[in-house]
Amino acid sequence: MSYSITDLCVNCHACFDVCPNDAIYKASTQFMINKKTCTECEGDHDDAQCASICPIEGAILTPAGEPANPAGSLTGIPPLRLAEVMAEIQAR
């Protein structure tokens, strides 16, 4: 099984630099994870490295397809608060 990267990726290179298997590569618009070489960092680290350094919520999915870093878990912004502010800005 393998971690994967969604189109929320901002191309910051952080995961690319820390992957112990060089399983991450630059695709045309964003970084991707090679399913064949991703080991979920088993044997190398306790935590998946890409998921541990990625700054963008929802950009990395676990092998189960769940966001490794769900909304609010990295920025500390409660998702409800963010939704309110977004609505308010869009209504301007």
């Binding site: 910051c12 820390v18 935590d47 920025t75 502010v85 800005i89």
Partner: protein, 503 residues
């Protein structure tokens, strides 16, 4: 840096640079520094208020990754604080960055400094950052290199930085207390784990302090940046100032938090306010008592090119750079010549010390009244005469007139851009920028001036004067000063002096 001629003592005349707080007293700050440090920052536009009128710098964006999260940053955009506001920059490979630096250094011979500031944390990208520095160091050893960092990875690369002759490092230190740090940094990536809360802040703080100490040990100049966040670290930054200075940082730069809802940062979305200008100034003042403060910082973009307040980045996009054919050796020789002539110009400007009123206006020494010095600005296109329209001026020459005579203080460039959302209202006009540039001056002499600026200058307490068009500068200033003396505008208000006069 070499000092400007000293101000008359015991007067409250503003210092040589702009005194608005956004620009400013770094010449004062430099005065406290040992000569060895001043020599090293003499041609660094970011550290020396005077040098920023003569020398250019550029930033190259080669460092996208970051190893921490700050509550004032949204990684979907470039960092809005820490010298890289708001504009997504063109990411360069180390090879591209080197080419671009060499191209700019050949075409902008005033260039003296190259920095790497982001868009992530330069030292969280050690290979990209260090290989860029190495290539520039090998091919253009006359260019000074500098880097800014959050400090987490700093101790690991201190020896590389010293080896590559990088003598200016900026560390952003917002706190020395993990309890406060936990309110600024939600997490760090450390030891192959994401670590949160006070534990994370404690590690970051220890690494920052260790990095600072290691750099100072190796004789690398360290500047400390702090972001002032009201209610979070505003009361704490005085202590930070004391600690970093005691450890040997040579400058402390307190910057206002930039936080807007639209930025999508934690502070922006949660309604954390930015400090007011007055609060920022007050903190800068209270820190400056025991720290060299830097106030002319323009919070440049990570890919800025050119003199401070100017961006020539559009002339050096990668497609244009690729087509340039450059003789690097010749370019370096040319730079050396240009830098030497700049230094000669700076020395000459200081030597035109005081032109006495006797010599200029035939005033005999015994007729001189005890009057205070007054700063005046001149719009000129050169040749030593007042020959420029106020509205056309992109810089003003500032002179000080006193009973001792007329003395050139220095040039003041008008910002080509607003200096940041928290520093000015949006859409600041050229006129408003001109007036901000002239803060502290009591008159401005020009060839011509429109009615609207006339009125606004008067409202700002600056006397517009077009009566000396095409006259030599020193004589005109002496004449205006004598008129002001005559009108009692230059009287010393101090009680002590009045007592002396009547005694």
């Amino acid at each position: 840096m070499t000092d400007m001629a000293p101000q008359n003592d015991a007067t409250n005349a503003p210092s040589g640079g702009c005194s608005s707080g956004s620009c400013g007293s770094s010449d004062d700050a430099m005065a406290h520094l040992p000569q060895s440090v001043r020599d090293r920052v003499n041609n660094h536009p970011c550290y020396s208020e005077e040098a920023h009128h003569f020398y250019a710098r550029m930033h190259v964006a080669v460092a996208p990754a970051c190893n921490i999260q700050c509550h004032y940053c949204n990684r979907k955009y470039d960092c809005a604080n820490e010298s890289r506001p708001g504009v997504v920059s063109e990411l360069l490979t180390p090879e591209q960055a080197t080419k671009k630096v060499l191209a700019v250094a050949a075409n902008v011979p005033q260039m003296s400094v190259v920095g790497i500031a982001g868009p992530g944390d330069p030292l969280a990208n050690p290979e990209r950052t260090l290989s860029t520095f190495r290539a520039i160091y090998e091919q253009a050893p006359d260019i000074k290199l500098c880097v800014s960092t959050n400090g987490l990875a700093l101790p690991d690369v201190v020896d590389d930085l010293a080896e590559l002759n990088i003598d200016h490092v900026t560390i952003t230190i917002n706190c020395v207390d993990p309890k406060i740090g936990a309110q600024i940094y939600p997490w760090i990536y450390w030891d192959n784990k994401r670590i949160r809360g006070e534990e994370a802040a404690k590690i970051l703080i220890e690494r920052q302090q260790l990095g600072l100490e290691m750099l100072v040990e190796r004789d690398v100049l360290v500047k400390v940046n702090s972001v002032m966040i009201p209610g979070v670290n505003d009361k704490h930054l005085e202590e930070v100032s004391k600690i970093v200075k005691s450890k040997g940082a040579f400058l402390h730069n307190v910057m206002p938090l930039i936080a807007e809802e639209e930025h999508g940062t934690f502070y922006g979305v949660m309604g954390q306010r930015s400090p007011s200008k007055a609060e920022l100034q007050e903190l800068q003042d209270s820190c400056s008592g025991d720290m060299n403060m830097m106030r002319h910082c323009r919070q440049c973009r990570a890919d800025a090119v050119g003199l401070l307040g100017e961006d020539r980045g559009h002339e050096f996009t990668m497609d244009k750079v690729e087509e340039m054919d450059i003789d690097y050796k010749q370019a370096m020789e040319f730079r050396a010549e240009v830098h030497q002539s700049i230094e000669e110009q700076r020395t000459a400007m200081k030597k035109v010390a005081t032109v006495s009123l006797d010599a200029i206006a035939g005033v005999k020494t015994e007729e001189k009244k005890a009057t205070r010095p007054i700063l005046m600005a001149v719009a000129t296109e050169g040749q030593g005469v007042i020959n420029q329209h106020f509205g056309h001026a992109t810089e003003f020459l500032v002179y000080e007139a006193s009973s001792d005579g007329v003395r050139f203080v220095g040039p003041r460039k008008v910002d080509q851009y607003c200096i940041g959302s928290s520093e000015c209202d949006e859409g600041e006009s050229k006129l408003e920028r001109n007036i901000r540039t002239l803060e502290g001056c009591e008159a401005v002499l020009c060839a011509k001036i429109g009615l609207e600026p006339w009125g606004q200058l008067e409202d700002a307490g600056i006397e517009p004067n077009g009566e000396h068009a095409y006259e030599p500068i020193e004589e005109a200033i002496a004449a205006v000063y004598l008129e002001m003396v005559e009108a009692g505008k230059a009287d010393i208000q101090s009680d002590k002096i009045i007592q002396q006069a009547t005694a």
